[in-house]
Symmetry: D2
């Protein structure tokens, strides 16, 4: 595989560019017999769609998915499922001046060195956050597969925007309503503060980062393959393919490394005949395998690189310092649009491992 495919038995191949004709994906290895239609995917796509609110980019894309193969009479056939979203509101002119001025924080410079003049620089081309739509295409199917066959629930939400941290640890009830606010934070009061922080940043021509938390419940014990296909390895690999992600941690994560073994170890007990742990500092993964507790992970996003503030940079042609104001339409903070993307990758990886470990069969 050469960087555009991920997975072992459930393989997502992504294609398309931010300002090309389309973005799309091929999902191979999905078991035959899953009932699927476009609206199953559309719902998750809509949560990530641009142009929906004040906190996101003003690019208008209806992001309508079309399934063009692999589904027959409403069910998957076992053949690769190809899906396309035709780009509508691309505006490549915004990017003409960028061909020589390297945008700080973006892939412009290494991509130019690597791909030379052939790089499709328009809106970041292949490096654009827009490509995360293709991950949602596959992820929505994986998520439905996990839910239908194993009853697995995957949800993620905003835990922090800039310096604003969530006040109350979200309950499962709170999580159900995250799409009722624009920042996708389960704590409504925190959500308001977060929204204000984003709007303030936009007003200042600046941007913010933040942290997404993902929780997956009802997974059986024993998913994962030691050593290099540990759940943590495969989840981290997938999550780091999201642009702007600069940190991934599981369970107690970085904070846990300051603790003691006697505190951080999750002690076993029995509840209603089922073996569980009293705490979940491991984030549901031991030795790379699921242990039956919720998979809990957090993903750190850097502040969006595109800001309208003037920045100093280099003109690659003249090799001289210059100034740059990034035009185009951008997210002042990508975090509110990220939960469906995180859900997509968590679902893709877990569904792949459910297939690898035999929890889901190749034909339902």
């Amino acid at each position: 595989m050469t960087g555009n495919s991920i997975g072992q038995r459930l393989v997502l191949t992504s294609f398309g560019e931010s300002h090309g004709k389309c973005v799309g994906a091929v999902l191979d290895g999905c078991p035959a017999g899953l009932e699927i239609e476009e609206k199953d995917i559309q719902k998750m796509l809509d949560y990530r769609r641009p142009g929906q609110s004040q906190v996101s980019t003003q690019r208008k894309e209806e992001d309508k998915v079309e399934i063009i193969s692999g589904v027959f009479r409403g069910y998957t056939t076992g053949a690769p499922i190809a899906m396309i979203i035709w780009n509508k509101d691309q505006n490549a002119k915004d990017y003409e001046s960028l061909t020589t001025k390297m945008r700080p924080g973006h892939s412009d410079y290494p991509a130019l060195v690597k791909y030379k003049k052939f790089n499709d620089y328009r809106g970041g081309g292949r490096f654009s956050g827009r490509l995360t739509a293709t991950h949602v295409l596959g992820g929505a199917i994986a998520r439905k597969l996990l839910k239908e066959v194993l009853g697995v629930d995957t949800n993620s939400y905003t835990l922090q925007i800039g310096k604003i941290k969530i006040k109350n640890q979200p309950t499962s009830n709170m999580i159900k309503s995250i799409y009722s606010n624009e920042v996708r934070c389960p704590d409504k009061n925190s959500a308001k503060l977060m929204k204000k922080a984003i709007l303030d940043a936009r007003k200042n021509g600046d941007s913010l980062g933040g942290i997404i938390e993902s929780v997956t419940t009802n997974l059986p014990v024993g998913l994962g393959d030691p050593i290099f296909s540990s759940l943590e390895s495969d989840l981290a690999k997938a999550l780091y393919s999201i642009p702007s992600v600069k940190g991934v941690e599981f369970g107690s994560g970085f904070a846990g490394s300051e603790s003691n073994g006697s505190k951080n170890n999750d002690l076993y007990t029995i509840k209603k005949g089922k073996i569980i742990t009293k705490t979940n500092n491991s984030g549901g993964i031991l030795g790379g395998l699921s242990n039956g507790m919720p998979i809990v992970l957090r993903v750190a996003f850097k502040p969006a690189s595109s800001i309208s503030k003037k920045q100093s940079t280099i003109d690659i042609k003249t090799k001289k310092p210059t100034w740059l104001k990034v035009g185009g339409r951008h997210d002042p903070c990508v975090v509110p649009r990220a939960p469906p993307v995180v859900d997509a990758f968590v679902s893709l990886v877990l569904a792949d491992h459910a297939l690898l470990s035999g929890f889901i069969k190749p034909v339902l």
Copy 2:
């Protein structure tokens, strides 16, 4: 691949068990023409060898590597390089009582559910930290390859043990001497405090975690493949295969997500005719590609799970609560032995990408 191999063009396959006959590795895809002998590998192995100091396990293993294929007249041939370390001081009896009592924080429980009675539980078997020796086998060769062909330097060191953080940001000079102290911390004063913290934890029958930082310099611009083979994706996948790792971040990482774009963006400038960035919050990676700045990443280790303190747990046979004191010989903190392992994985991943991107040829 089924969990015991990693890499695309430079592929490490690990085998062996903690208390079996041996641990070993096959490194496939190493270019023909690299001068290599056992002592090149032994040096790095010795840095992670157990039984060396008060801060690590008392298991005595000389960990002597034997190259059994792939090297001819002192040079690699392009054929797979198989390497073996014969286990000497295994003591499987320590683990007999553990077959039914699930050790908190260990893989025991999910591994038993997954592999049933067939799991080799002795000392964690395939899940043991001892397997990181096999990663060093391949990593030492990858590191030499990067150094010889591209002049790349990879180093990692202890940044934090428990709550003790390093005082002074390490200089390249300080990094050179990290193996002069037992905790592998470049700041000698911090090292003393860290050592004391570990010995205190051991005395209390407890354990500590910590954080390793890795810095790689002199990498060319343009390593990495977007999207799913981004450097961050592949590095994180590799690093998460190390037991006890629960967090990985690049550049400004989790802290960066609290910042603003205008602060976190690394501005370009020119120094001695070379394009560089004034800061390095990206950790040397933009759009998944190396940008020529040092690759900087941090790895969080949870406190070692094996502690001699009494812990409550479940007996899997009786399905009743019970008590457990973990015997055997264990590290009160695995962090001081981790730098060569982190170096190994960083080197394996970067050498793989140097091959993929054409910076290193299949025959030197």
Copy 3:
């Protein structure tokens, strides 16, 4: 990979169904900087297009390719190249009666057992020869890449139809004109006999098989990776994915196994300062590596399974014997449409190995 992708660095992923919306492909790993436009692909597609002559199926498909990603301003960017052919003349009704009557020689029976009722049986669905169009999509690009960068020429032609064998060993001049006759045989007189044989078979409600020979010249010495990525291994794997292929041989092949080493060994000599062999019984491959001589291979196709003659079979519902006349529009012999498909796979495999061995760089 799960059966719909092939290649290591140059990866073709195929999607679509015979009577679905479309067939298509994603080619990943093509170096940036190759000048490509739709007509480069269309030419090769046209050679395999149905409905062109008396010797092929009457299904009318214009098979017009559309490139939807990966090409920018006329050049490949290094991103995945997605290509689509929309199906026009599908007529699924022809196949309604086939859902329970298993067609002899087709995938119907094992596909039904494997995929149950979810299998897309229309026209063979995913198993149809129509899918070879998707291989030509990628193969045309690979072929151009090999030609442009290394000057490699790949051609294949009909060597035998039924019992009619080619009379004269084709010269390179003869090969140039193979598309001037309907059976794609470089020997015009043999071509006439072959055409007659096919038309006779059709008249009788029967079908024929045949043999394609492929010759590739100008390949550098040293492509291929021993052991499991030998050129023969990878070429055979690719060629066997073509429906109806039941034999693949290289150089002197099956006939060579009746010979002696002293006759079959190709002796080295020097011609114009270049090391060559006097004969080419090895088919240009020694030890799995190209040796600089032309790559010569032959592919045996079984007689087309769809015949209009009445055949006895089983009704899967009643589990009783029954009779069947295969309706629909079919090729009485698939061989004349196969040369571009064989060229496609030979090109894909050799281009992949040219990338793996460093003869072609990731960016041109």
Copy 4:
């Protein structure tokens, strides 16, 4: 994977050289719970061992396998199974003169061009037929797995040596006794003629080729993944990694391409309530999937390249013509030693697909 590993879920990695310290293999992905000991493997190794009879090389190797990981208390654990055979009778001196004189029919020339002076030329190094011992290591386990879990039987035997073809189509009874004669031909009378032909060739300083047939019974319907992981694709890929193989065909193969559809199609019928076909021209594979009939394939081996007759060649140093008599100890015909190797690859591929298709679970 880089040429030394094969398989998707059951992955064999081969290492070692003909005249190095050892040859060995790592088999990854074997389900936990298979009872295995060295003698299970040794039996199959012994059938391939050199120095056993007049028809094979006089190199004496006891080829004793040692399992060094992955088996615990007599059962596989799910961990990689590493196995080693230490070389005993290597005699590298035989090859000193060969460093500049290119042996016709061998990999010497392309390997020298590709790997330069780093190639391990001793006895063919990595290209030697000796490496097929490593395939038997993994294949013996795969074969036992298929037998134990699914009752599958795989056998192969000599069908032809030089121009001597087997007289009588072998029955299953005849197949049971193939190891009672030195050429492994189930027809005793043919076997005598074949042996004489080999001894005659040796006497003349020459060599012979031949054909192996493989028959696998009792496979369930539905193994295989269309398109690129068709059973034919994966079997051919594996079989072509055996040195000297120049042809692979399934069922009626090349002969079938001279037939008519009405004759070559296998008609369905019912026997004892089971759907079978009256003939088996498909070799048990339709659409790349097993159809429940025996898998039948044939493998063509070229005459052994090492002959003691004087041959003209080129001295690579002087770039001048020269003469060569290949010394060392060689097989006048490799075919009699090939059946266990063919069995090994057929078993590895089918077991891999049995895992992929869910017929064998990851833990027994």
